[in-house]
Structure formats: structure tokens, C-alpha cells
């Protein structure tokens, strides 16, 4: 949930009543900003870039763990937003839309570059590497770090087997920490639909994992 402050409403707590009413994404301050961008107002576009750039960078870095790639992909994301915002239909929140574009761009990048061992090429600085080599505790932790990196690699690969919508929903739920109610508000779908979609996405992920374990020939 890091980096979301000021972008999204604070998560609904257990003591608060559940928000059942749908959010009308047409009549928000954000919608007014989008309309200005649709009318080719560059100042409004600049505001969108400044408002969401940190979020976009975090999403990309979460998936790719490479700062240089994050810059290139973030540029591509905002360029895509600029050219396709005229088609934004206000059915979901702007953040949900941007989130989807960002995750798709990451997967397009992975597909194009055919990055197989992306996690091992993460941008550890020289300093980090030195620290890991020189510290006894770091040596002890190395297998755990390797396992975590391998798991990250695996989960990125498995998510690539899902549809863009399933992928975004799962990431919004587990990585961004949104509740079902929040997802319903953000996407304009009802809570039951979100639950069903999330369950199916989880099932697909399990099946993809089982196929991967059976061997590459089965994939």
C-alpha cells in the first residue's frame, strides 16, 4: 500500500459500515482532470504524470526490479495514456486504468525482451553486493534471498499466463492490498463479481503452476 497515500481513499476498516453504493467515476475531481486531458490540455496531462509517476514506477519496479527498465516503461505508459485517454470511458477509476496499462506494458516488455532471468539482473548496487559479500549474516541470508528471488521469478512467469484483467485484479488485491469493496468501487463491478473473478484467477494461477511443475513440454 506504499505510495498510494493521496491517490486512493483510505481502506475501509472493519468497524466502518461497508460502502455499498457504486462510485460514479464521471463526477469526480479526477474525471474533470481527465476531461481536460481529453481536450488536449497539456497542463492537465502534466498533473496526471506528476500525480501518478511514483505509483507507476513502483508497480513496474515491483514486477521487474530494474530501475533503468522502469524509466523506459514508465515513459511508454504515460505516452500510451496520452494517446488513449480519449477512449477512457469512466467505468473504472483512473488509477485502475493506469494500473492495468502499467502491468500490461511490463508484460509486453517481458515478452519482447524474453527476459528469463530477470530477477537475477535486479539492480543491486555495487555497494549492496559488497555488503552482502562481506557480512557474515548476509552470507547466512543468501539462500533465503535466492529462494525469494526465484519465487518472484516464478510468480511473474505464472501471472503471464493470466488475462490482463485477472492479472490486474490479483495484483490490486494482493500487492496493493485493496479489499473486495474497494476493488468493486474502483472497477465499477459489484462485489460478488469481483469475488468470482478473483477466485477464478487464483484457480488459473494454481493450474498454471501445476502445469509448470509437470514440465516445460506440457506448458
Amino acid at each position: 500500500m506504499k505510495g498510494l497515500a493521496g491517490v486512493l481513499p483510505f481502506p475501509v476498516s472493519a468497524t466502518e459500515p461497508r460502502v455499498k453504493s457504486r462510485v460514479d467515476h464521471r463526477n469526480t475531481e479526477e474525471a474533470a482532470l481527465v476531461r481536460r486531458v481529453q481536450a488536449r490540455d497539456e497542463l492537465a496531462f502534466r498533473e496526471i504524470v506528476e500525480r501518478y509517476q511514483a505509483k507507476v514506477f513502483s508497480i513496474i519496479f515491483g514486477i521487474l526490479r530494474n530501475h533503468n527498465d522502469a524509466e523506459d516503461i514508465a515513459q511508454q505508459v504515460f505516452s500510451k495514456i496520452y494517446f488513449s485517454i480519449k477512449n477512457f470511458d469512466f467505468r473504472s477509476s483512473l488509477l485502475t486504468w493506469i494500473y492495468k496499462i502499467t502491468v500490461n506494458e511490463c508484460y509486453d516488455y517481458l515478452r519482447k525482451k524474453r527476459v528469463r532471468k530477470l530477477v537475477y539482473e535486479s539492480d543491486f548496487s555495487e555497494e549492496d553486493a559488497q555488503r552482502m559479500q562481506n557480512t557474515d549474516t548476509a552470507i547466512d541470508q543468501r539462500p533465503a534471498v535466492d529462494t525469494q528471488l526465484a519465487q518472484r521469478d516464478l510468480v511473474v512467469k505464472l501471472l503471464g499466463k493470466l488475462s490482463p484483467e485477472d492479472r490486474s485484479l490479483l495484483l490490486l488485491k494482493e500487492v496493493e492490498g485493496h479489499s473486495v469493496e474497494e476493488l468493486a468501487q474502483m472497477t465499477g463491478m459489484n462485489e460478488n463479481t469481483i469475488k468470482v473473478k478473483l477466485f477464478r484467477a487464483r484457480q488459473k494461477l494454481v493450474k498454471a503452476s501445476q502445469r509448470l511443475k509437470r514440465g516445460p513440454g506440457v506448458m
Binding site: K2, G3, A14, R46, V49, E50, Q53, A54, F57, S58, I59, F61, G62, I63, H67, A70, E71, A74, Q75, Q76, F78, S79, Y82, F83, Q148, Q151, R152, L154, V155, V156, L170, L171, K173, E174, V175, S179, V180, K195, L198, F199, R202, L205, V206, S209
Partner: protein, 162 residues
């Protein structure tokens, strides 16, 4: 997975992640898990899957280097320029361009054909011949003179050869 587990799956995973004591999962959920091994093992699978997904959480906040907006606008300009040329490669545009070219060729062809046939008619018009007798007589004199000059050249050539 049975319905009562499926219905409360998201709540359960969230509560487990937050280690929340005040989870909103009904008692039947726990009771069912105690008796249904299938649901219990599937639930463990989804729990470990959720933990793996959380590995994608960025461990630090990232901000782009200064001048990011300028670089974005530069990219947009590049893509905009590129899109003008790529428009030419679009099948619809290409088809229209081919049609327009074909029509243009037909129009030009028609123009040349009609202009070539109309000129001799104008040149050999009786109206011109009859409307300017002096000019036609001069033209006849010129051609006679040219004929005479050609004959003289031929005679000279023949005499030189001999």
C-alpha cells in the same frame, strides 16, 4: 472448494495476512475446514499463492529522475511523428490511396486522349482555312520554296558525287 469457503475466501486471506483477530469469517467456515480436508488443503494453496504474490510489493518507494515529464513529452512527440508515417502503412489508408491514385490516372489519361484528338481537328478546321486565305497562300508558297531548296541540295549532292 465448497461454497461457504469460496464465499469467504477473500476475507479469510486478508485476515490471515493482517493477522487480524477481528476477522469477519463466519464460524461455519472454521467448522467446515475441520471436517473437509479437500477445502483445507486448497485453502493452504491459495494462502501460499497470496504470500508469493506479495513478493511483488516494491520494497522501497521510487521516484523518477528529475525531468521525467520532459522525457515523456519527448517520447510522445517522437511517437506522434512516427504515427504520421505509420498511418501510410495502415491497410485502410493504403486502399484509399490506391483508389485515389487510380482515379487520378484515369482522369489524366482521359484528358490526354481528348486533348490529342481535338488539336488536329482545330488545325485542319475549314473555318481557319477559309477565314484566312492570305495565310494559307503564304503557307503554300513556303512549302514550294522548301521543296525547291531540297531539290537544289539533291542536285548539288549528285553533281558532287559525279
Amino acid at each position: 472448494m465448497h461454497q461457504q469457503i469460496r464465499d469467504n475466501l477473500e476475507e479469510y486471506l486478508k485476515a490471515e495476512y493482517l493477522k487480524s483477530s477481528s476477522r469477519k469469517v463466519p464460524q461455519e467456515f472454521d467448522r467446515h475446514l475441520e471436517v473437509c480436508q479437500e477445502c483445507a488443503s486448497e485453502l493452504r494453496l491459495y494462502q501460499s499463492q497470496a504470500e508469493m504474490l506479495r513478493l511483488l510489493q516494491p520494497d522501497r518507494d521510487l521516484d523518477p529522475r528529475a525531468g521525467f515529464y520532459a522525457r515523456v513529452m519527448e517520447k510522445i512527440e517522437q511517437e506522434d511523428r512516427g504515427s504520421i508515417w505509420s498511418a501510410l502503412l495502415q491497410p485502410n489508408f493504403g486502399r484509399r490511396l490506391a483508389m485515389a491514385s487510380a482515379v487520378l490516372v484515369m482522369l489524366l489519361g482521359t484528358y490526354f486522349v481528348t486533348s490529342e484528338t481535338s488539336e488536329p481537328v482545330v488545325a485542319s478546321s475549314d473555318v481557319i482555312l477559309t477565314g484566312a486565305p492570305g495565310a494559307s497562300m503564304a503557307a503554300v508558297d513556303d512549302s514550294l520554296q522548301q521543296q525547291r531548296q531540297r531539290d537544289a541540295v539533291l542536285v548539288n549532292l549528285a553533281a558532287y558525287h559525279e
